[in-house]
């Protein structure tokens, strides 16, 4: 039986794992970007720069915590907390593998698996915009405000296309439970049945985690650092943490929804398959950052509303027709 203690233990393990993955991702990303740019990346902190996150962490903790004079102090403090919370909370419903048997106990490899699991993940992704938007407003600086206005407009625009492409997967799987969606892909991953849906979902996920080429909320060449301009020290680190966990969450959802989750040839255990797919997608995120340029703002809106949304509707109708008449 799943006891409260077991659920708490899994939540704790997950939170620690995500925090370490965030730390690891920062150094891996900087190393990779270095190699893409034909330079070495961090080298001074430990072998291969591996202790860089420790150095960054110490720096963030000891740095002066600055709150601008005109800032809304309450909201300014609340914003990074909302960011990290919404990023972590989505993991309450993300499974990383099939249930395992340990000493007669069947333990699910996820915190919870409610019937509407996908919707919970979508709901927390939808709420994540508040951290960014409120940070920009509470800072009372024009760069921050511009960054946060961009963030809210961008997230609203891409959420629709994301939801509509997601519906294709839900129709094929006939369930909103993430474990059942993965089970439905035992023979064929949905990327083969929903190639268009996959592309739309992936682009929307990229936009939702505000990564290059959709990183307009923090476009450093025009907005200093966008919504996080006025933040320093630990609060700034919390925004970074939220951003990286969002990236990991988005990659995990793409893995579960389109790449067949932990399904794979038997020579590797299921959890390893999940991690391999997750790692590949994270690499793609970094790869895109190293090779793409940022979209212009009006192009970003046009892409969301005039290209991705109609294509997502087309994909949805086509999937519905085929599901009804073929199956």
């Amino acid at each position: 039986m799943d006891t409260v203690g077991l659920v708490l233990a899994r939540s704790l393990i997950l939170a620690v794992a995500l925090a370490s993955l965030f730390a690891g991702m920062t150094v891996i990303e900087r190393k990779m970007l270095g190699y893409f740019h034909l330079r070495l990346g961090p080298t001074r902190t430990g072998p291969w720069g591996l202790l860089q996150p420790v150095a960054d962490g110490i720096k963030a903790i000891v740095k002066e915590d600055i709150i601008p004079r005109d800032a809304d102090r309450l909201v300014f403090r609340l914003a990074p907390i909302i960011s990290v919370f919404t990023a972590l909370a989505a993991w309450a419903v993300i499974p990383v593998g099939p249930p395992v048997n340990i000493g007669g106990l069947t333990i699910p490899l996820g915190v919870a698996d409610p019937p509407g699991g996908v919707l919970v993940a979508v709901a927390f992704a939808a709420l994540s915009v508040y951290g960014v938007t409120l940070a920009g407003w509470a800072s009372q600086s024009k760069y921050s405000l511009l960054g946060s206005l961009r963030a809210s407009a961008q997230l609203i625009s891409y959420e629709l296309a994301m939801g509509l492409s997601l519906l294709g997967v839900l129709m094929l799987a006939g369930s909103l439970r993430l474990t059942e969606i993965v089970a439905a892909q035992e023979r064929l991953p949905f990327i083969l049945l929903q190639p268009l849906g996959f592309v739309i979902y992936f682009l929307a996920a990229l936009a939702e985690s505000a990564r290059v080429p959709f990183d307009l909320p923090e476009a450093e060449t025009e907005l200093v650092s966008g919504y996080s301009t006025e933040y320093s020290g630990m609060r700034f680190a919390m925004f970074m943490m939220a951003e990286y966990i969002h990236m990991i969450t988005a990659s995990s959802l793409v893995t579960l929804l389109y790449l067949g989750g932990w399904n794979g040839p038997v020579f590797l255990p299921p959890v390893v398959w999940f991690l391999v797919k997750l790692g590949f997608l994270l690499f793609v995120f970094i790869w895109l950052r190293a090779t793409m340029v940022r979209l212009r703002y009006d192009r970003l809106m046009d892409l969301g509303w005039k290209v991705l949304l109609p294509l997502a509707i087309l994909n949805l109708v086509a999937t519905a027709v085929i599901t009804v008449f073929v199956a």
């Binding site: 939808a126 407003w137 809210s152």
Partner: protein, 168 residues
Amino acid sequence: MNWVVLVAAALALVSAVTVVRARIPVHSVLALVLNLISLAALFIALDAEFMGLVQVIVYAGAVMVMFLFVVSLLGARREAIEREMSLLPGQEGLGALAALLLLAALLLAVLRQAYPAPAALFAGFGTVRAFGAALFYEHVLVLQFAALLLMVAVVGVVVLIARRDQGR
């Protein structure tokens, strides 16, 4: 009544009062978001899982983001709105009277049990499947009317924008 309902109901009430009482518009928006999330928790506690999640996704996650967008764009400066509001003659008295009437109506309904005790929920109540079946089998006509109403709003927006562009 379990403690989730109590906590969510208390939060919903406190946040609803905060929406009206807050001096800074963005704080009101935030309180309204909290209010909608508490309502979602109440829905989920009532086994209406899908309703609760959609409440968060649509209202808290999309509609309120637009609110926040507009409020933080118009009220970019953190300034309290005017406290010296001009009251209509008798506004306070009439408002209190209306509130009392509403309270009386609600109390009557609760005390007389105007609503019959809910029958045992069928299996799968509140899931997407049950929700969809009710919507598309039983209430399909009403659904179409609602869709028509939304369509009118969309056409209205397009007409308004087209008229403004012609003036240029």
